[in-house]
């Protein structure tokens, strides 16, 4: 089952770089990350790549394989033919540091801009009561492994650097939705979702959902419901009145 595969790997840094050709051994059952590791052990000991768990659970080894945003550890070599050239490039939306490693600090800045969970002031630790059915909506979003493939693929920023300041991307709009749907969060997050995190940039093309390795229905379950909540809040006078006389969202 062992064969020699043709690989093109982007190598370089923030100043310069390009695709480099490698012919590398592939064994049965291997994933693209195994091949990258083999290149490190043989031809390119300084080839830069991020990885941690190699089990699809940490979201470190995000890259683009033949142009598709993927986790290197979750892409099996058996999905390619033996004659096919496999091209591995860094995430396009973020600045390159070196080789396959990009500067993803954009995501950490956006994470920091989302106001934290605000529990009811009168509830002590151990007194929290929530029903399973109510926590499940937010739990789906908390499966997120922060691989940032959705952030990378979203067309609102992928080729529009200028939108990065006003758009937080699917991952963090989903984070707002998660908090908004948290049964005990007391903060009204609708206005800031729209005005500070750029929910309006999303025109529900579902690209984020397509690349999510955790199969989270980002668009259907987080972004669209959040949009609906924003619209309700903005235009419904009864909701507005209700918000003034009750703590419930």
């Amino acid at each position: 089952m062992t064969y020699k595969a043709n690989f093109k790997v982007w190598r370089g840094d923030d100043t310069d770089g390009g695709l480099e050709d490698f012919v590398v051994e592939v064994n049965e059952g291997e994933v693209v990350l195994d091949i990258i590791h083999r290149l490190q052990a043989t031809d390119a000991p300084d080839l830069a790549v991020r990885w941690n768990c190699k089990a699809g659970k940490c979201g470190s080894c995000s890259a683009e394989i033949n142009g598709m945003p993927k986790l290197l550890c979750m892409t099996r070599m058996s999905t390619f033919t033996e004659t096919e050239t496999v091209t591995v490039t860094p995430l396009r939306t973020f600045p390159v540091i070196r080789d396959l490693v990009t500067d993803v600090s954009f995501n950490y800045e956006k994470a920091r801009a989302v106001p934290s969970f605000e529990p009811p002031a009168d509830l002590k630790p151990g007194e929290y009561r929530m029903q399973q059915i109510d926590v499940e909506r937010s739990q789906e979003f908390r499966k997120c492994i922060e691989c940032y493939l959705c952030q990378n693929t979203c067309h609102a920023v992928r080729d529009h650097e200028e939108n990065k300041t006003s758009f937080s991307g699917p991952r963090f709009l989903m984070r707002i939705a998660e908090l908004d749907m948290h049964p005990l969060d007391t903060r009204d997050r609708k206005r800031e979702a729209q005005e500070e995190h750029g929910l309006g940039f999303c025109n529900i093309t579902k690209c984020c959902t397509e690349v999510c390795p955790e199969h989270i229905k980002i668009t259907d379950n987080a972004l669209i419901p959040l949009k609906e909540r924003v619209v309700d809040r903005k235009y419904d006078p009864l909701v507005w009145l209700g918000s003034k006389i009750s703590r419930r969202k």
Binding site: G29, Q40, D46, N52, S60, S116, G126, Y128, R129, K143
Partner: protein, 700 residues
């Protein structure tokens, strides 16, 4: 070189590190979190099962005393009793606190945190979120750190004013002045720049050592950094011989070798077969277990539906037995092509059953291995999972023997004794992460203004050490870090693995001695910018010294206990139970080993156990001294006994005790229906299971 000043530097951003950092910040200290990977990627995210805490939400009989007992039994009474006590008492508060930071655990019907059964835990005790509890802990604490940063941005004008995350930074040396911690030296992966942290207190929370072994469930970061940093700074490591090998890790395909296969596969009917198709476990039932385990496949198969009238399948023997048996089959030439055995559930259960009961296993094999476990068997073998040993600390404060140095989580030792119970790791890192953060903050306060100054000569030496592999480059005689790493992993795997014997451990020590001078020749090419070859070259020092500790302690301990199995000393010895093996660095740079008494268990804690159980672990004089046993042979009138009803039985020392427990597991299965609605099915499964009380352990 960039220089920073902080009150407390926390090395490691897994569960223990984040909890320590949060606590130190809550105490008003300025805190740096040094994170080897990106923030939020720590190995803690791999933990599946849950966090053990005796909240009593599912069974109200649970309390800290029961949890304490389970933990001590799991560790075979080698645990530091005070750590086991603090852990059992404080775990519930630590879990509840996570909810105030936004954690969303699975719920009971009355809205409390749900708790699940796990190996070795008498009652349902693990707070969990499906099978991704570790991720929930990390995300929650990551967001708690952010929450502090948001407050600081308002108060001090900058997010990083009081607590800053140094992502993708690695510390290579701790710095001391006059015997006290003065700071830490490291590098930034992105550009290879050196970074100096001046700080009077350092908390180590770097996790484990699994990457020193070829087959491991551990992630890239687990290179024993904290263990080595502590040693090199003059601190001590305890219990390093105890390493937990899980019997069923994936062995094929290579990309997932070592990845954990949950014990539930066997609990739900999966069986182990060799290359001849034989259910070999029937040949490996030890005499002491003969009564509790089925002798025929027919009887074993009946047990799943009628546990009252049949004995359990031998596939459900204690983990060390199963791992040993798999090892023997492979050595005898009856292994699979890839050096494991077959774990077969496909031929025994319907695809629907498998997908419903083992969704994550189905997903794991399907996506990572292209194996459909409903149609074909899995290949499995033992995998290095967790190190019980670590930095010797004061239980209450997490303080190591070096002033200013603290440790928490997997990098610390003592809490789990010779063997960790599943679920006790996530609770461990919460309880002792907080205590270490608190301990560090109090230590900083105690120093007043007299903080130790970093010695510039030490910084220069650390810099030279870090640059050495790059300076050697690929020049003549330079060693490849990847090749050396691979040899080290193979050595540990083959010679200091799950089953150990004197001659093999000696062989390992000889191999490690040969690797040491080669480490000084390891070269890296390609400059300082994000250079994995260079990073590995620096990690190798840590893996090598930790491997020496493991091998030396394993050679010394002439008994089998928990995560240390000796082929040449198969019994567990009450005399050895009184001994902790402690590693330090000798003046010549080698690892020195000394015997140290295991701390004496407080009488009130000893009294929580039945004396007949204690006798299996402890010597009679210990029990007399602990006040739970009358002095044997003394005249009744002369004996001063606290509890006169307890009678000595000096002749009866059974090797194992068995107990039957009934486990009731409520699991919620969520199925997405085609129309997008979510349907929740809650089903209750009752498993009756015989648990070997001396070998209760379990993850996932």
């Amino acid at each position: 070189m960039e220089t920073y000043e902080y009150d407390v530097v926390v090395i490691g951003a897994g569960g223990a590190g984040l909890r320590a950092a949060i606590e130190a910040r809550a105490q008003g200290k300025s805190v740096a979190i040094i994170c080897k990977s990106l923030f939020g990627k720590a190995h803690t995210v791999m933990a599946e099962g849950g966090a053990a805490a005796a909240m009593g939400n599912v069974n109200s009989h649970d309390n800290w005393q029961v949890h304490f007992r389970d933990t001590m039994r799991g560790g075979k009474f080698l645990n530091h009793f005070r750590m086991a006590e603090l852990h059992a008492k404080e775990a519930p508060d630590r879990v509840w606190e996570l909810e105030t930071w936004g954690a969303l655990f699975d719920r009971t019907k009355d809205g409390k945190i749900s708790q699940r059964n796990f190996g070795g835990h008498e009652y349902p005790r693990l707070a969990h979120v499906g099978d991704r509890t570790g991720l929930e802990l990390i995300r929650t604490m990551q967001q708690a750190v952010v929450s502090y940063q948001q407050k600081d941005a308002v108060e001090h004008g900058a997010y990083d004013a009081r607590i800053k995350v140094f992502a993708e930074h690695t510390v290579t040396r701790l710095l001391k002045r006059d015997g006290k911690i003065a700071g830490a030296f490291g590098y930034r992966r992105e550009d290879g720049e050196f970074v100096l942290f001046k700080a009077p207190a350092v908390v180590l929370a770097t996790g484990g050592i699994g990457k020193s072994f070829k087959v491991t469930s551990n992630s890239w970061e687990y290179t024993g950094d904290g263990h080595a940093l502590a040693l090199l700074a003059g601190a001590t490591l305890v219990n390093m011989e105890f390493i937990q090998f899980h019997p069923t890790g994936m062995v094929w395909p290579p990309s997932v070798k070592g990845l954990l296969v949950t014990e539930s596969v066997r609990g739900d009917g999966g069986v182990l077969r060799n290359s001849e198709g034989k259910r070999f476990m029937f040949d490996y039932v030890p005499d002491v277990f003969r009564k509790q385990y089925a002798e025929t496949e027919e009887e074993a198969d009946r047990w799943y539906t009628d546990p009252d009238n049949n004995r359990r399948p031998p596939e459900l023997l204690p983990r060390d037995e199963v791992a040993r048996s798999i090892n023997s089959e492979v050595k005898a030439g009856r292994g699979t092509p890839h050096g494991g055995v077959f774990l077969d559930i496909a031929s025994r259960k319907t695809p629907e059953f498998i997908r419903k009961r083992l969704p994550s296993m189905y997903h794991q094999f399907k996506e990572l291995a292209d194996v459909d476990i409903t149609a074909e068997p899995m290949e499995v073998g033992p995998t290095c999972h967790y190190v019980m040993g670590g930095v010797e600390v004061d239980p209450d404060t997490g303080a190591a023997t070096v002033p200013g140095l603290f440790a928490a989580g997997e990098v610390s030792g003592g809490m789990h004794g010779s063997n960790r119970l599943g679920g006790n790791s996530l609770s461990d890192l919460l309880v002792f992460g907080r205590r270490a953060g608190l301990g560090a903050a109090e230590y900083v306060d105690s120093l007043g203004t007299g903080r130790p100054e970093v010695d510039e000569a030490d910084v220069a030496a650390a810099e030279a050490e870090a640059l050495a592999p790059l300076e050697r480059g690929a020049g003549g005689g330079a060693e490849s870090p990847y090749a050396l790493h691979s040899e080290l992993q193979q050595t540990n795997n083959d010679l200091v693995g799950i089953i150990r014997k004197e001659a093999e451990i000696e062989q390992a020590l000889a191999a490690l001695a040969e690797l040491a001078p080669r480490l000084d020749k390891v070269g890296a090419v390609g400059g300082r910018k994000f250079n994995p070859g260079w990073h590995l070259a620096m990690d190798l020092r840590n893996m090598l010294v930790v491997s020496e500790c493991v091998a030396k302690a394993a050679l010394e301990r002439q008994e089998s206990r928990g995560g240390h199995t000796r082929d040449d000393y198969t019994e567990m010895s009450p005399t050895w139970r009184q001994v902790n093996l402690v590693c330090s660095i000798a003046p010549d740079g080698s690892v020195a080993l000394k015997h140290q008494p295991v701390p004496t268990i407080r009488p009130d804690l000893l009294a929580l156990f039945d004396v007949s159980e204690l006798k299996k672990y402890m010597t009679e004089p210990e029990l007399v001294a602990g006040g739970v046993l009358a002095e044997a042979g003394a005249a009744p009138a002369a004996v001063v006994v606290a509890e006169p009803t307890v009678v000595a039985e000096p002749e009866i020392v059974p090797v194992v005790e068995t107990a039957t427990v009934v486990e009731t597991e409520t699991e919620t299965v969520v199925e997405d229906k085609a129309d997008g609605e979510v349907e929740t099915v809650t089903e209750t499964v009752t498993d009756t299971e015989t648990v070997i009380s001396q070998d209760k352990e379990g993850d996932s």
